[in-house]
Structures are given as structure tokens and as C-alpha cells.
């Protein structure tokens, strides 16, 4: 365990050294300082190229600052694993255990689903891109349709593009921490299908879900993570 860590540290130091020449113009003190203060604007070139930052800004609902902050959040989850430079697009993935332990997700009953839906491999292991993507969709700037699309995916536990009864049961049990009796759960699920199923196929398709969710008064305010 300790050895591994040391190895990581070594890797990290290496990359650290590698990067340093690229920010020659800045003093080492500032470099160190920037490492501490997350929102410092001066060091953005060292983590991302301006083009990268612009691209991320175009692809997410975040500003430069927020992207950097998110990067640091990401990096704080595993400082040994994540390099301080993304100029070369390193292929780093953080395991779900780390992602799920974030304060924003820790108490969310659907954290695993969220991670799975947004991760590229579908197992909750996230790259920085996935990470940014996730918080972009869950930010308050994201439009209702986008949110609804991902909400559907989150609640579709078995990934079959339909929310069927087993998905609903899982959702209810997660929401109530198994405090409802099985009869109650099944009653609730039946009611949901009865209400939202427009084409009577016994499961909710994306259109059904969309139809239902656009009328919900507080979907936008609740499906949203502030970071």
C-alpha cells in the first residue's frame, strides 16, 4: 500500500517536473501558491491550453473558473492519480468509489447510477471529461430537456431504454430506504405506470418520461447539483 503510494508520488513528481518548464515565466512560488488556491487565474495555462479551456467552455455550462475549480475537485479525489496537466490529454480514470465519496454525491441514493450514466465505460469510473459532463448536465444552466434525458437514463437501472416496473421498485426503495412494505411499493409503482404510461405498454419510454417530467413543477430545481 505504502509502496504504491510512493510510486504514485513518483509519477506525480515526474509529471510535475515535466510541466515546470512550460511555465517558466512564472516563479516557482507562484506555482506552489497556485496549487493551493484553486481559483487562481494565473495557472490555467499549465493545466489546460487556452484552446482546451475554450473547448470545455463551449461544451459545458461552466466558465473558465468553474472548469478549473472542477478540475481541482476532481484532482482532490486522488491527487496521486491525476496529473496537474491535461495538455497531453492523459488517460486517467477515477474509480467509482472515489467519485461516489464526493460530498455532493455521498448522500444521494442514486449516486451509483449517476456515475454509471455519465461514465464512458458505464461502470462509474470517470475521466475528467465525464466528470465535467456530469456536473455540466446537473448545473442549473442546463436546459430541461437535457436534464430530463439524463434523468431518464439515471432511473433506467437496467439500461434497456425503458423504465419498467423493476426500475421503479428500485427507485422507490432507494428513495425511502426500504421503509415501505412490498405491497405499498408495488402500489406506488403501479400508480406511476398508470399515470405516466401514455401508450399502455406497461413501461415508461423516453417520451412518456418527458411528457411527465416537463409538467413537474420542481424538477428543474431538484435535479441540480451546485458545485
Amino acid at each position: 500500500m505504502l509502496k504504491e503510494e510512493r510510486e504514485f508520488l513518483a509519477v506525480f513528481n515526474f509529471s510535475y517536473l515535466n510541466i515546470q518548464p512550460s511555465c517558466k515565466d512564472k516563479g516557482k512560488e507562484q506555482w506552489d501558491k497556485n496549487q493551493d488556491s484553486e481559483t487562481e487565474m494565473g495557472n490555467k495555462q499549465t493545466i489546460f491550453t487556452p484552446e482546451q479551456l475554450d473547448a470545455y467552455q463551449d461544451c459545458t455550462f461552466f466558465t473558465r473558473k468553474e472548469i478549473l475549480r472542477l478540475f481541482y475537485r476532481y484532482r482532490d479525489l486522488a491527487p496521486q492519480l491525476v496529473p496537474l496537466s491535461y495538455i497531453n490529454k492523459p488517460d486517467v480514470k477515477l474509480p467509482y468509489e472515489l467519485i461516489g465519496s464526493m460530498a455532493e454525491l455521498k448522500d444521494n441514493p442514486f449516486r451509483q447510477r449517476i456515475a454509471e450514466v455519465f461514465s464512458e465505460d458505464g461502470e462509474g469510473n470517470m475521466t475528467l471529461d465525464d466528470f465535467l459532463d456530469m456536473f455540466s448536465v446537473l448545473s442549473e444552466m442546463a436546459p430541461r430537456d437535457l436534464k430530463a434525458y439524463y434523468a431518464f437514463k439515471i432511473y433506467d437501472f437496467n439500461n434497456d431504454d425503458y423504465i419498467c416496473k423493476s426500475d421503479l421498485e428500485k427507485t422507490v426503495n432507494k428513495l425511502t430506504r426500504n421503509e415501505l412494505t412490498p405491497e405499498e411499493v408495488s402500489l406506488v409503482c403501479d400508480k406511476v405506470i398508470d399515470e405516466a404510461d401514455q401508450d399502455n405498454d406497461g413501461k415508461l419510454s423516453v417520451e412518456d418520461f418527458q411528457h411527465m417530467i416537463v409538467r413537474a413543477p420542481d424538477f428543474l430545481s431538484t435535479f441540480h447539483i451546485r458545485i
Binding site: L146, L175, D199, E207, F219
Partner: protein
Amino acid sequence: MELLGCCFEVQSVTTSFKLSSATHGNALKDLMEDAHKDDNLDTRATSRVGIEVDNEEGSAAESEDDDKESEKEKKVTAKTRRGNARGRARKDSEEEEETRTAGQHRQRNRRAQRKQAGNEDSDSDGESCKNKKNRENQISKQQEPNEDGEEDNKGGRKGRGKNETKQGKKPDEKGKKEKDNKKKDKKKNGSSSSDSDSEEEPITEEELAKLKEEVEEKKKLIATLRNKPWQMKKKLDVLKEAQLFVEKFEGALGKGKGKKFYAYKVMMTKKWMKFQRDFENFKTACIPWEMKIKEIESHFGSSVASYFIFLRWMYGINMILFGLTFGLVMVPEVLMGKPYGTLPRKTVPRGEERTAMNFATLWDFSGLAQYSVLFYGYYNNQRTIGWLKFRMPLSYFLVGVGTIAYSYMVVIRTMARNANEEGGGDDTSFNFSWKMFTSWDYLIGNPETADNKFASITTSFKEAIVEEQENRKEENIHLTRFLRVLANFLALCTLAGSGYLIYFVVRRSQKFALEGLDNYGWWERNEVNMVMSLLGMFCPTLFDVISSLENYHPRIALRWQLGRIFALFLGNLYTFIIALMDEINLKLEEEKIVKYNMTIWEASLYNGTISENATAPPIQVDPADIPRGPCWETMVGQEFVRLTISDTMTTYITIIIGDFLRAVFVRFFNYCWCWDLEYGFPSYSEFDISGNVLGLIFNQGMIWMGSFYAPCLPAINVFRLHTSMYLQCWAVMCCNVPHERVFKASRSNNFYMAMLLFILFLSTLPAVYTIVSIPPSFDCGPFSGKTRMFEVISETLENDFPSWFGKVFNYASNPGLILPFILLMVLSIYYLNATSKSYKEANLDLKKKLQSQAEENKKRNKQKAQQSREMEENSLEAKPKQQGSKQDSAADQGAQKGRGDKESKKKTSHQQEASPSQQHGPGPNAHYSLHGRGGSLAPPSHIAVTRPPVPRGYGMPGYSPRNPRFEGFPGGHPRMPRGTPNYR
């Protein structure tokens, strides 16, 4: 035939371009480089146009004698193959996202064409498609005669363009692309230009416009990229490509400010949202006890929370009442009125001086407290006080009236608003779904909050389940009815019995009082109080037992319970008022005697010292020694204050003993007891909603009745509500258990409000009666010396207003004017009531209609699904027939086209030609635009039939081309046909 084949090839080039954005982008890059090199816009445009026209020739299979032209043709075929292959591969690998991009490109192009075509904004693609074909036919016909002239023009133009740009091949490629995008429009342009004999200029402009449009499209793509549900990698790729495109073209068109502006806009929206969010937070933070109530609601359900919300509302009202009395009556009197000890009414009488500061006396609100600013008697009848000339008696009177008026206004307004909310009703059609999918707040990042949220979601589910079960419950209706009638009968009997008992006891006590209480023992003296508290103790329990007979929904049961206990408490009120009136009458009689004695005392005072010398200064007698009247107003005020205090104490003691000690006992003695205390007999107490609500309401009634005579009463009540809020919140959370059946409170507290209004009405009656018909005390209070309290108004009118105002007022108060006015008001109330009723009915009707429509829709969808399933089964046989027949609805057309496309992939081009020509008559070029294009594009359509053919707004014919692609959930239903193929 050869020509046709050629056409088809070109056609598929188009499709391949549309499909593979990458090809598009690369080719465009070359094109862009050229464009960059040239600074002269016009020249460039001309060259481009020329090339395009060239291409058109090729595509229209005109004669091609140019070498370059043939070269290009070769390239085109190569491209075609490549493009087709790529398209197929993509389809095979089922990369839906890719297809979607392709679809977007396609759509964008189509949109551009539509715009060009001008007035073709009909909703259904099928229709516009037909139109286009027709137009195309016409155009081609027109074109034939003008061919020669056109050629000349083209040749000249082309040559010029090439010479000027000096880059032959690259523009060629570019031209190809442009042509691919807008082949038909060009044809139209060409024909129109030839018809009107116009020169390059209009075409150039159009070209420019087109380019601009395309750049705009790309820009829009960049702007909306973040709205796309793609993986980040994909987004980055698309972004890069689009940016390259825009960069080059924007350089050409000299437009680069859009992005900055957009960034600025985004920043501003973000700032605005942040501000809004903060403001919202601030607003919620300003609502007192919001978090406490939310917490209680999450554990005990909305019914218990409704009590606390009601309590908070009462607190608000009492704050205002307190502000009124404190600011306009008490503070001016303290600051500007004569100080304590200057007047008899402001001094403790000699006899009481010894005990005036004792705690027991103060606790009883007599002694010093009685002769303080807290009570009516302290105020002087001086018309104006202080340097402000503050009109104290007038202010006192107006505040008293204003308190009542304000309370009426607020209660009624709240009721009306609540009724409105109720009337509007919440849409319960997705009750459970919303609970399931939107109840979790993703913002929660704190374990404690999360626990609360889990509890609240569970509670809300339970509430909803109870509602649902109540809806479903079907029992023996006759039995229930009988039981309910029986229960009501029993309740009525109880009420009548207790009513009679109260009446009897009160009469008896009056008799005792007349005979003098000294002859009777403790029981006789306290009979009324004892009976009242015994009734108050046992009757609610009895009602509870009775209500279990009725088997109502808990919410309705609560209402019945409230109503019954309310009726019982009215008896309480009745006895209280009777006792009070007796007391007042006694005091009035006493006053007469005192008045008589006073004159004697004064006379003796003057006689004893200096006789018959009026000019001598009055003898200085200590105000404490002057005899004084009983001052019934202060007595009434004291009564109310005492009652409020004792009520508060009782409530608190009940909470501490009944809830807290019981909970402690149950909790800790459970370890060493013979049976399970927690689930057995004593158990923990539930929160008594009805008792608490009624306590609150009756207490408020006391405040309204008494605040005229004791200005301190609102202050005391504010204090009481404040402490009881904290105490009860704490007690609920720590010693109570949730109700067995957690039920949802009605959204509005209107039932509580109705009771409050009733109590307000009842409590204004005695207050108004005493103000209007009992003469004020002669030696205390702001109205002393007047025969009635309201005379202060006429006095002010006489002294402080011009004389004409008094006259007007006199006329206005003439019954001849007032009666018609009242009549008018009654009429308008009647009218408004009638209209509101009719609106309500209309509302209900609409609701019903909506509901039935939704059900119908569901049914129809089901039918359609079935139909399409059947159609799928028969699709192979049915297809040729359907293709021949004419379709009515755009939906059918769309579905069928999908099918046709699928077929066209498999079969030869011969078949493709056949169907459109059958539909639209013989047109030489009519066909190749139709299926050749969509053929390689359209997704497999087998799902198109398992789903209803027209999902509104999902890329089907009803889908407006202006909307960005995402609106319709592109990724959500991958096997849906993505819009109609690109018909031209």
C-alpha cells in the same frame, strides 16, 4: 437511362456528404483556404457561383464538354462510393450518435433550402415535398428552352471566376459541396436568373446569404453544443470541426463578434441566475422557522406541519397588532403623556400601596401593573398630548377599531387566496410519478438533511398511499351511512347535554352571586370553572371515540373533530361572556355609588378648609388619596390578560407533563417494566392537532376581545406564540410519534381560517357592544367624561376639521344615504357571488374535459400502437398498394416513407423511380430527389411501426424545422425514424 444513373450518383454524393460530417469538414477546409487568400468578397462569390453552376450542369446531366468537368465527375463517383460505404458501416455499427449528427447536417441543409424556397414553411414534410417536386418539374421545363443562353452565361462566369481566383481545382471541390447542399435551389436560381436576364449580382448575394446562413448554423451548433446529450469526446470533436468551419468562413465574411457577445450573454445570465438563487435563499432565510417546520413536516407529515404554519401565520398577525397598539398607543402615552403619580388614575391608591409591588400582585396584574400603561384606565382624557399634539383618545379609539378591521381584512383575504389556490387546484395527474422522479433533491449534501429528506419522501409516499386507498375503498355504504348518522346523533347529544349543563351551572352561579358568595362553600364558588374544565377534558375524548365509528378519511375526521370541539368550546366562551357582563353591570352600579360619594367627599374637602372661596388654589391632595371609581374597563382587560396567561401556562404544563415526562417515563422505565411501554398502554403521545389548533384559535379570540381594554395583550400574545413555537417544535421532535396514518393536510388551511373568522366575529360582538352601548367610566381611561366612547370621533370632527366637512359627514351618515349604499353592497356581493360560482362551474367543466381528453388520447395511442403492430405484420404485402394510394395524413406519409426508404435500399433504382412518378405525375427530374437520397440515409424502419407513427415533436412531420435537433430527444429512442428523409 445513362443520364439517370449519373444523376443518381450525384445524388448519393449529396447524401454521403450529408452523412459524413468529416468529409464535409475536410473539403470545406480546402475551400476555406482559398477563400482566405482572397480578400475581395465579390470576386470570390462570383467564382463560387460559377463553379456551382458548373456542377449543376453535371447534376442535371446537361452536355459536358469541358475537360475539367469530366474530371470532376470522376471524383464525384469516387466520393460517392466512399460515402456510401461509410454510411453503411456506420449504420451497421449502430452508432446512433453519428447518425444523429448526420441527421443534423441533413436537417440543417434542408432548413437552408427551405429558407431559400421562401414560403415553404408548411409543417408537414410530405406536403412541402410535393410542392417542391412540382416546382422542380416546372423549373426543369422552363429550363430547357433557355439552356443555351444559360450555358453561355455560365461559361463566361466560370471562366472569369477561375481566372480571378487562379485556383481551378479547389474551387471545384468547394463548388461540389455547395452544390450538394443546394442543388435544387441553384437550379431555381439559374432558371430565375435566366428568365429575368439578371447578372451575377443577385446570385452573388444569395450565395453570400447562404454562406452566412451556414456559418450561422455552425455557430448555432457551437452555441447549443452544450445542450447535446453526447459524451464529452464527441462534443469536443464536433466542436473542433464546427469551429474550423466558422473560423474560416467568418474570416471570409468578416464576422467574429458573435462569440464574444454570446459569452457575455452567458455570463450575464449566469450572474442573473446566481443573483436570483441568492435572493431566493435570502427570502427563504427570512421566513421565520421555515427549516424547523420543514423538519417537522418531513417526520410528522403535512398535517402536523399545517398547525405550525398556522401558528406562524398567527404570529405574523399578532406582530402587526402589537405594532399598532405599541407604536400608536403605548409608546406615545409613555413618552408624552403625564407621568406616573400625577393623576389619581395614574397612581396606586393608598390602600393598595403596601402590596402593589408584590410579585403575587403583579402576577395577578393588579397593584402597580393595574395602574400602568398596560391597561385602559391609565390613559388620560386630555385631547392632545405632548409637543406633537398627539390626539391620544382618538388614536386609542382608532387603533382599537383598526385592530379588528385589520384582522377581518387579513383573515378574509387569506381565505380568498387559499380558496383561489384550491380552486386552481394542483395537477394531480402525475402525483406519484412526480413524487418518485422529482422528490429527491440532488442538492442535498449533508447526511442530516439527507435523513430528513428520506423521512419526508417516505412520509409523502405514505400520505399519497392513504389518499389512494381512501379513493379505492369500497365498503358497505349503508352501514357506513348508518354509523355516520349514529355518530353525529351521539355527538349532538353530547353537545346538547354539555350545553344544557353549562347553562344550568351558569344560572345557578348567578343566583349564588346575587345571594352573596360568602354563604357558600368552595364547590359552589368554583362550580362553573370546574364544570367547564371537566367538559373540556372528557368531551374531546368522547368525540374521538365517536369519530372512530364514522370511518372517515383522517383529514375529514380531523375536521369533524375540530368542528365538534369548537362547538363545545363555544359554551366556554358563552359562560365567560355572561360572567363578564355580570361583572360589568356590578361595577357600573358600584360606580354610581362612588360618583355620589365623590361629590360628598369633594364638598367636605372644600367645606373643611376654605369655605366659599372659589378663587383660592385647589387644595393639594395626594392623588393616591383621592377616592376613585371601579373602572370596569381595566377590570375587563385584567380578566383577559389573566386568562391568556393561565391558558399559556396550562398549555406549557400540559406539554411538559403530558408529552415530555410521559416520553421520559416510557423511554426509561421500559427497561424494567412488566409490559412493553413503548407499544403498549402509555406509549408516546401523538401530536394533538385539533386541540392545539383550537387552543390557538380561542386564544386569538381572547386577544381580539380584550385588546381594546388591555393594550398590552397583543404583546403578551406575541411572546406566548414565540415561546410556544420553540417549545412545541422541540416537544414534537423529541417526545411525540407520528400519527398512525400520516395524512396529507389540505393545501390551504381554510378550515382553520373559517373557524378563526367565526371566532373573530364572535369576539367582535361583545367588544363592539361594550364600546357602543356602555358608558365609559367617569374617572379613568381616554374617554372619561364622555357618555359614549365613539363620541371621540364627532369631537374630532367638530374641532379639527373645517365645518363643511362635518356637514358632509352629517349628510353622509344620514340613513337615507346609508340604506341605499348597503343595498348596493348587498347587490354587488350577490352579483359577484353568482359570477364566481359560474366560473367555478366552468372551471370544473374544463377540468373534466381535459381529463376525458387525456384518457381518450391514451386510448387512441393504444389503438395506434396495435394498428401499427398489425401493419408491421402485413407490411410486405401492403406496401406496394399503399405506395400507389394517396395518403391523407402527414403522419401516414411519414411512416410510409420510412418504409419506402427501407425498401429502396434493397431494391434497384427502378423501383424508386416508380413510386414518386406515380404519385406526382411524369416529371423528368422529379424522382431522383425523392428516394435516392433518403435511401441510403433512413434508419431501419421496423420500429417506426411498433411505435405510434406520429409522436408529436420527435423529428416527425409535425416537427418544426427551426428547432434544434435536440428538442426531440434524439438519443432517447434510437430506433425511431429520425425525421423524414431529405426530400427536395
